[in-house]
């Protein structure tokens, strides 16, 4: 790949453009990892509008059956992890994992969606699709974090909240809303990272954080490509076309100000190297946390709200 002066200039322009869009430090994690080659590759990718193929590649990698899931990262990132179970009311939702973790010599509360690797676990984990009980478990963990001053880390990886009869009857919509509100109210710092599929309401329920990161090949979207295609193209087979239109890839999410930084993945994608992916994720989470920890709790909460209040584009 040639790197002429014009590309350099383009990258610079892009960086400036992104920096203007958001007044937050860019590409947290990328710089920290210190790999100039990777930074270049990523900037190149960003300099050019990702093509429909690029976007679809992200969709495929985000859903790759070998992609690391929350617990794969937890066991690599944490020195110790004690999982907490149950919503104290009705159930323990296996599609969400919550617990206390030791990272860099301190305790954090970690919450994440959990998919299953084999058929049996997939079924058990309900493909990472949460019930209201899962959000209540998450909220209980958030409360614990707030009481003890533990930072909150969330890992987002779900096709979406489960669209079943019982889930609806137990208040799926309401608990997605209340889970967000609980995160908005947190006195402690919080960092979310989309590590695979950031599917709609089920994803954003645990992603209202001080910093929201996204892995290079993760997707974050209001609807699945298939769902979008089925509605707008009246043909679920047009998923690739739909994905290209609504742009769920990390670069576009960064450009739109939805995420604060992109977490690099090892060559070929996170599925190719779980350890490498975990190391890069840990670096990025740590850096993002270090970024928001010095801020006073009330001010941090104000900034957090301000950040989400600023999202969207409209004409006045």
């Amino acid at each position: 790949m040639t790197e002429g002066a014009s590309t350099q200039a383009e990258q610079l322009r892009l960086r400036e453009r992104l920096a203007k869009l958001r007044e937050l430090p860019l590409l947290r994690g990328v710089g920290v990892s210190g790999e100039m080659a990777r930074l270049k590759r990523q900037l190149e990718r960003m300099a050019v509008e990702p093509s429909a193929d690029d976007v679809w590649h992200s969709v495929e990698l985000a859903r790759h059956q070998d992609r690391p899931y929350t617990l794969d990262y937890v066991e690599r990132i944490c020195d110790d992890f004690v999982e907490l179970h149950g919503d104290r009311a009705l159930a323990d939702d296996p599609a969400i994992v919550a617990g206390l973790g030791r990272m860099d010599g301190r305790t954090v509360v970690l919450v994440g969606h959990q998919k299953g690797r084999d058929i049996r676990e997939r079924t058990h984990r309900n493909f990472g699709m949460t019930y209201p009980e899962g959000y209540r478990k998450a909220m209980r963990a958030f409360e614990l974090a707030d009481r003890h001053g533990f930072p909150v880390l969330t890992l987002v990886d779900t096709p979406g909240a489960y669209p079943g009869v019982t889930a609806e009857q137990h208040g799926q919509g309401g608990w997605i809303a209340r889970c967000q509100l609980a995160m908005a109210r947190l006195g402690v710092p919080s960092v979310a990272c989309v590590i695979g599929e950031g599917g709609s309401g089920g994803a954003v329920a645990i992603a209202l954080a001080d910093r929201v990161l996204m892995q290079e090949n993760a997707i974050y979207s209001v609807i699945s490509p298939e769902g979008c295609a089925a509605i707008l193209w009246r043909d679920a087979g047009e998923a690739k076309k739909a994905a290209a239109a609504f742009k769920p890839d990390a670069v576009h999410c960064l450009e739109l100000g939805v995420v604060d930084g992109i977490v690099p993945e090892p060559e070929g994608g996170a599925h190719a190297d779980h350890d490498g992916a975990a190391a890069l994720l840990a670096e990025s989470l740590g850096a993002a946390l270090a970024d928001v920890e010095p801020i006073a709790p009330d001010e941090r909460r104000r900034l957090r709200r301000g950040k989400f209040r600023a999202m969207g584009m409209y004409l006045e």
Binding site: Q65, G173, R185, G199, G201, L256
Partner: protein
């Protein structure tokens, strides 16, 4: 991935308020009576035969709820942008223009100061006729500003929802209206102002999964569909047998999700009583 189940906060054409759209909007789905517009106006668009609650357009709702002449609209000039240059079978900009022409509205939510039963409040009302009441950046921003104004004036916010969900043509930015409006409600809480959420048919997906569910008091109209995922999608994706009243206000009440189901004719005095409860002067 095999056996993918599609889940979404998006509005679906399938979940239109009056079924498949073949029925005339003034033909009652409950008893099949047909009415002229002027016949339904005095009953607040409630079927005189069977009590079915027909959808109400935003301006009509305001006329039904607010004291005459008290509604002062704000942010009327706000319009949706097209951040993704979204084009499916048609351009998003084209859909927007068409919706504006058809409804006379700038987007799916109107907000402003009002008084109800002589109690001042901020009033925000959604209109399903504007692209299925879908929530994009403009709806989110207008709702958030309504929270700010309520907080600033120290009055309660009354909001009537009617929405198929997030507006997928704005992609991820439409999803971000969930945390955005949640943050706005949190700020309203901090200003110690009340939020009365009135869920009309249908209140679903992204709107149910954000501000609509965060009311200090949550009221619904009879028969309204209040569901994160609508019955058709649930049925299609899970093959479960659905209860007859799946997702309806009555089912939501039974499961503890709404404080009251209030028939439209009683809504105004009911809200008036609530505003008295939350009045600061008192």
């Amino acid at each position: 991935m095999e056996g993918r189940i599609d889940v979404t906060v998006e509005n679906r054409a399938a979940e239109r308020p009056e079924g498949d759209g073949k029925r005339h909007p003034n033909t009652c789905p409950g008893c099949h009576s047909h009415y002229r517009d002027d016949e339904l106006e005095p009953t607040l668009r409630v079927c005189p035969q069977c009590g079915h609650h027909f959808p109400v357009r935003a301006r009509d709702r305001i006329a039904q709820l607010a004291d005459r002449g008290t509604f002062a609209e704000e942010d009327a000039g706000l319009r949706s942008a097209d951040p993704l240059a979204f084009f499916d079978l048609r351009a998003y900009t084209e859909r927007l223009a068409e919706a504006e022409v058809a409804t006379g509205l700038g987007d799916a939510l109107i907000a402003g100061a009002a008084s109800i039963e002589r109690r001042p409040c901020e009033l925000a009302v959604m209109d399903f006729a504007f692209m299925g009441g879908s929530m994009g950046s403009t709806v989110g921003e207008k709702f958030a500003r309504a929270c700010d104004r309520a907080g600033g004036r120290g009055v309660p916010l009354v909001c009537v929802t009617a929405s198929g969900g997030a507006r997928m043509q704005e992609g991820i930015l439409s999803l971000m209206q969930l945390p955005k409006t949640v943050c706005a409600v949190d700020e309203l809480h901090e200003a110690r102002c009340a939020f009365i959420s009135i869920m009309s048919h249908p209140t679903t997906a992204g709107v149910l999964a954000s501000f609509a569910s965060l009311g200090d008091v949550i009221v619904s109209e009879p028969g309204a569909l209040l569901a994160f995922t609508g019955p058709r999608v649930v049925q299609q994706t899970t093959r479960e047998k659905l209860p007859d009243d799946f997702g309806l206000a009555e089912s939501n009440a039974r499961f503890g999700h709404v404080d009251a189901i209030v028939p439209r004719a009683e809504l105004r005095p009911y809200v008036g009583r609530l505003l008295a409860m939350f009045s600061r002067a008192a």
